[in-house]
């Protein structure tokens, strides 16, 4: 059992052309807090301290009040499946996992999040967050379809 880790996106992905360094792809220090939370199995969203709205972990600016957003707030981790697709054809490390489901979750806070979906998918079915290590070896928030109690 290896230690559960996430990918460090704070300095982005180095794009190389042979030995030549071209630049950084998507360096995202603004999402570090999100991935720190994932490592602790905590599900966080960006939180606007001015209008109290929750936003996608990538958000830098609150679209509702134009305030810079850098605070994090624990989210409920529940929502409904806005849409989904069962993937039957994939490449690289994902090829051996087919079929698997990816979807867009509409969180209770109103924020959409793309994720792997476990369980029987359907439009608007309730889902809740879980944390699992996927094919690339990193710990990721995923969503599990809630079954009737």
């Amino acid at each position: 059992m290896t230690e559960e880790t996430t990918i460090d996106w704070s300095t982005g992905m180095r794009l190389m052309a042979g030995d030549m360094f071209l630049g950084l792809y998507q360096p995202s220090p603004e999402t570090t807090g999100y991935w720190d939370g994932v490592r602790r199995h905590e599900f966080l969203l960006k939180h606007c301290l001015r209008c109290d709205g929750c936003h996608h972990p990538r958000r830098i600016l609150c679209p509702d009040c134009n305030e810079a957003v850098s605070a994090w707030k624990p989210a409920k981790g529940t929502g409904k499946l806005h849409s989904y697709s069962e993937v039957h054809r994939a490449t690289g490390v994902f090829a051996k996992s087919t079929p698997y489901t990816v979807g867009i979750v509409e969180l209770d806070e109103g924020v959409p999040l793309f994720a792997r979906i476990f369980g029987e998918p359907g439009i608007d079915v309730p889902v809740e967050v879980d944390f699992r290590v996927l094919e690339q070896g990193a710990l990721l928030p995923v969503f599990v379809v809630k079954t009737a109690p």
Partner: protein, 405 residues
């Protein structure tokens, strides 16, 4: 009512260059666009000195350069006042012409050279190389978000909300294929007809999308170019100019996983959704500029890369109501015989996609002037081209005609 931009400018020269996988010598995108540009300039009868603006589509994936437009300029040995890339993904191809019209009508230049091209299938393995191409590396790709799976998010919700059936989507593939059989450049021209059942029994790629719901790769590269000028500079004879009657454009996102976070703007004015594309907004602008209506349009080409997306495009262009695309095609709306001439090259599904380009515009203009490569559509006065930039993020709509307005 038309605006001052409608009919103010014309395309006076076009060029296209093709290189196929089966050719002994594979061409680069730079070779193809330079060839196309020289054809367009020759047809327009202009010299290197007269090019006032060079507007290129986005940098091809197989000719990466920090300033791609400058590499094109360097090769053509032109010295334009304005040189820039116009990129809203693939929708930027028509965007080059739209920006040309604005510059020409402002009278800061007299001639614009617009060039676009790609040749990825000649140089890289497209399935492996494109699997995650449209996914956000941080929040989508780690989940195994293949490109079809991203589009499938919109397909699944659209088909659910509007009760669209897979066999209705399949009709797009069936009719597109018939046109491809007549087109000498179409990827699927020798593959024969397909039926709705063929589509429904083809291999599942990313539900609800099956193999024959998806665009085919064009087996090569295409460079295309156009020279645009103002009405007062268009000679009365003997040229056959094509008039730009209206255009519009709308962009909504970069990553589909976040599209639902857009609200209160453009196609989400009435609430967040992933099923109202920007096509409707772009079309509204183009119709308003030109004073034309859908009923005036005699031919439509779109770069929508999946069957369901073609239905959504037909709806938002106004050929049927929202959610009625399935019934429209099932009722014969785009039938090869008797329907709206739609994707007359075979479309992205059967002509194949080769990145962005102006070759769909070229098809429409050649049909209008009665000189098509494939099956002729007689009597076309006005044509419409829709350019798409993925994933369903950027949309450009252009209306063109063959007669001076």
């Amino acid at each position: 009512m038309t605006t001052q931009l409608s009919g103010s400018c014309a395309i006076v020269g076009m060029g296209r260059s093709i290189s196929l996988k089966s050719d002994a010598e594979r061409k680069t995108p730079l070779q193809l666009v330079v060839d196309a540009a020289s054809q367009a300039m020759r047809e327009a009868g202009i010299t290197r000195k007269q090019v006032g603006a060079l507007l290129t589509g986005r940098m091809p994936r197989t000719y990466c350069s920090l300033q791609y437009n400058q590499a094109v300029l360097n090769e053509l040995k032109i010295t334009p006042m304005i040189s820039t890339e116009v990129t809203s993904h693939g929708a930027g191809a028509l965007g080059t012409i739209e920006l040309a019209v604005v510059l020409l009508q402002a009278r800061v230049i007299d001639y614009a050279l617009c060039v676009c091209g790609e040749a990825s299938p000649l140089w890289i393995e497209m399935v492996e190389g494109s699997a995650n191409w449209e996914a956000d590396l941080q929040f989508e790709a780690p989940y195994g978000a293949t490109t079809p799976a991203l589009y499938a998010q919109v397909a699944q919700r659209y088909m659910h909300d509007y009760n669209i059936r897979p066999e209705q989507c399949a009709r797009v593939a069936v009719e597109n294929r018939l046109w491809a059989l007549d087109h000498p450049q179409a990827a699927m021209r020798k593959k024969g007809k397909i039926s709705v059942d063929d589509v429904l029994s083809s291999r599942m790629v990313a539900s609800p999308l099956r193999m024959l719901d998806c665009a085919a790769w064009f087996p090569g590269g295409i460079g295309s170019a156009a020279v645009i000028t103002r009405a007062d500079l268009v000679p009365e004879s003997p040229s056959k100019p094509s008039w730009i009657l209206g255009f519009g454009q709308s962009s909504t996102h970069e990553w589909i996983g976040e599209r639902f976070a857009l609200r209160g703007a453009g196609p989400t004015e009435n609430g967040p959704n992933i099923t109202n594309l920007g096509v409707g907004e772009a079309a509204r602008q183009a119709y308003a500029m030109s004073g034309l209506r859908p009923a005036d349009v005699g031919i439509v080409e779109t770069s929508a890369p999946f069957t369901f997306a073609n239905l959504m495009v037909l709806e938002e262009l106004g050929f049927c109501g929202k959610g009625e695309g399935g019934d429209f095609v099932e009722g014969g709306g785009i039938n090869y015989d008797g329907g709206l001439p739609f994707n007359t090259t075979g479309g992205y599904l059967s002509f194949g996609q080769s990145g962005q380009g102006l070759y769909l515009l070229k098809e429409v203009l050649e049909q209008i002037h009665g000189e098509p490569e494939g099956r002729p559509v007689p009597g076309v006065k006005v044509g419409l081209v829709h350019g798409h930039g993925g994933p369903l993020a950027c949309h450009s709509v252009m209306l063109v005609g063959g007669e001076r307005p």
